[in-house]
């Protein structure tokens, strides 16, 4: 019915575009430069919800959209709705720092993240849409002897799992990234780094739009401004979702609501071991290209890349308290800046331009939860915390497979909800360097 301006993140744009007559045709003199170019082609339509779908995906972020894409592409399931309470991909998808890597320690993690990285490598072709995926490599710095041991161990584990990984000595670190402070007289000298050359960054909005366009082409309904507020239950099944745009019946329900997962699982009477935290990031003003790769540091807690446009993009850890406010405290930003200047003295004169926050869904072992639930037809994808953007295509693939076949995809199986009862955790805390 209505269409949405794909290049706007303003929900107000989700209404039909009627030109404002006063401005365009009125007698008042036209403002210079007011002539707007033709409206760009719409990437997806904005339909009203139907009465029923085979699959309802809750959450129109990267994960929900990728899940819908692979439901259609790999399983031919297209009677699907993606319900988004705000605007498309306005949650963590729009707020993350887009680091993509697969150099995790444990076999289970390496498998799913490497699967995802391989999909990233072909994603532009699959989506037929530019996503600015730039494989510029990631350095995870080691600053203490224990860091060095853990890092070398992780490199060996990565290599055994077919993940590209190298250990670099300080002089090699300097060659990859000349602006890192490798002098020996700093508080946390750089003793070396792990290096994954295939790691990179991508343009988060383009990724979401590319998926949305494909999903729309497949006949799947993307419904924005549609918050799920309850569930219609029948024993062990959920037969429908209540939304701000009416009740919708469904064959299966797939949760992809990231930081808001607990709000939904509470409505289902299902407990999940998730704590939602604010996570902040920031960008500097636009600078000439100075930073050729991605640098992460656990001990001096910050990570930095330089976006295509030229901003330095930085992030660090979560705000300590639980929060749903999509913002955090400023002292966290101050600490990140202090850490960044310690590692990159050249940044001392760069100005902070903008900070923002998202809500991340953290788990006790810093690994995601993907799979089935005690309900026959409710599927859960959450707990990606501070690091799920890189998983977008990978989890979309395995989650779609899990939904289609009513059993966990092999890459999802280790990340079941019941691992917290069996004790089979996939403990990536610290193991995988900073968790982004």
């Amino acid at each position: 019915m209505t269409t949405v301006d794909a290049f706007s993140t303003d929900p107000a744009d989700a209404v039909p575009h009627t030109p404002a007559p006063d401005r365009l045709n009125g007698s008042s003199p036209r403002t210079p430069g007011a002539e707007l170019p033709e409206h760009p082609e719409f990437l997806w339509s904005n339909p009203d919800p139907q009465k029923a779908y085979d699959v309802v995906v809750i959450g129109g972020g990267g994960h929900g959209l990728a899940t819908a894409h692979y439901l259609a592409k790999n399983h031919g399931i297209t009677n699907v709705a993606v319900l988004e309470k705000g605007w498309l991909a306005g949650g963590n998808t729009a707020r993350n720092t887009t680091l993509i890597r697969s150099n995790y320690l444990w076999d289970e993690s390496a498998a799913i993240y490497e699967h995802s990285l391989k999909l990233w490598e072909g994603l532009e072709d699959d989506l037929g849409y530019p996503i600015l995926f730039s494989q510029r490599g990631v350095l995870n710095l080691a600053h203490t002897l224990q860091d060095v041991r853990d890092s070398v161990r992780r490199v060996e584990a990565n290599v055994l799992n077919g993940v590209d990984a190298e250990w670099l000595e300080p002089d090699e670190v300097r060659k990859v990234c000349p602006i890192v402070n490798t002098s020996t007289d700093i508080r946390y000298p750089v003793l070396g780094a792990t290096y994954q050359p295939r790691a990179g960054i991508a343009k988060h909005d383009y990724v979401a739009w590319g998926f949305a366009r494909r999903v729309d082409e497949a006949g799947i309904d993307i419904i924005q401004d549609c918050e799920v507020t309850g569930f219609v239950r029948d024993g062990n099944r959920v037969t429908g979702v209540r939304t701000t745009r009416g009740d919708i019946a469904c064959g299966k329900v797939a949760l992809a609501a990231a930081g808001s997962t607990s709000v939904l699982t509470d409505m289902l009477g299902l407990r999940v071991p998730i704590q939602s935290h604010p996570l902040q990031a920031l960008v500097s003003e636009l600078l000439e290209p100075v930073h050729p790769t991605i640098v992460m540091s656990n001990a001096v807690h910050v990570y930095v890349s330089q976006a295509h446009k030229g901003e330095l993009v930085m992030g660090a850890g979560v705000d300590a308290y639980n929060g749903y406010g999509q913002r955090g405290a400023f002292h966290i930003i101050e600490r990140q800046m202090a850490a960044a200047v310690e590692l990159f003295p050249v940044f001392a004169r760069a100005h902070l331009l903008r900070t923002w926050g998202g809500i991340v869904d953290t788990t006790p072992d810093a690994s995601p939860i993907v799979g089935r639930t005690p309900y026959d037809n409710v599927f859960l994808n959450c707990g990606w915390g501070t690091g799920g953007f890189k998983a977008t295509p990978g989890v979309g693939w395995v989650f779609a497979d899990t939904i289609a076949n009513d059993e966990p995809h092999p890459y999802a199986a280790p990340f079941s909800l019941d691992r917290f009862v069996t004790g089979r955790l996939v403990d990536e805390h610290g193991a995988a360097a900073v968790a982004h």
Binding site: E227, P273, N322, Y324, G325, F330, V421
Partner: protein, 101 residues
């Protein structure tokens, strides 16, 4: 910076405090009697309330004492602070809980 009122020291800057997660989670009365599932819930599962949340804080850079607070997890505003052992205070008005953001 947000000021947090320590029940013993009064208002101090947020950086003096350490967060302790959900309050009022009792240690199991009979640990040996718990099933694996019950242990899992004691060890790993905590409420993740959107709205007024009862939680533990420690004034770690001050008197180093623990206390409890009711805080709105959407606005981050402290609604009440109270001493350990005191019951969760009852608020007259509901805060922003449920408000969409």
């Amino acid at each position: 910076m947000q000021m947090i009122r320590c029940p013993w020291c009064g208002p101090r800057e947020e950086v003096e405090f350490h967060y302790g997660g959900q309050a009022h989670v009792p240690y199991p009365a009979e640990p040996a009697a718990l099933s694996d599932e019950e242990w899992a819930h004691y060890v790993f599962f905590r409420d993740n309330t959107r709205g007024a949340f009862a939680e533990r804080w420690s004034h770690s850079a001050g008197c180093r004492r623990w206390f409890n607070a009711l805080r709105d997890t959407v606005s981050y505003r402290f609604l009440a602070v109270y001493r350990p052992g005191d019951p969760r205070p009852v608020l007259d008005q509901t805060p922003t809980a449920g408000a969409s953001s």
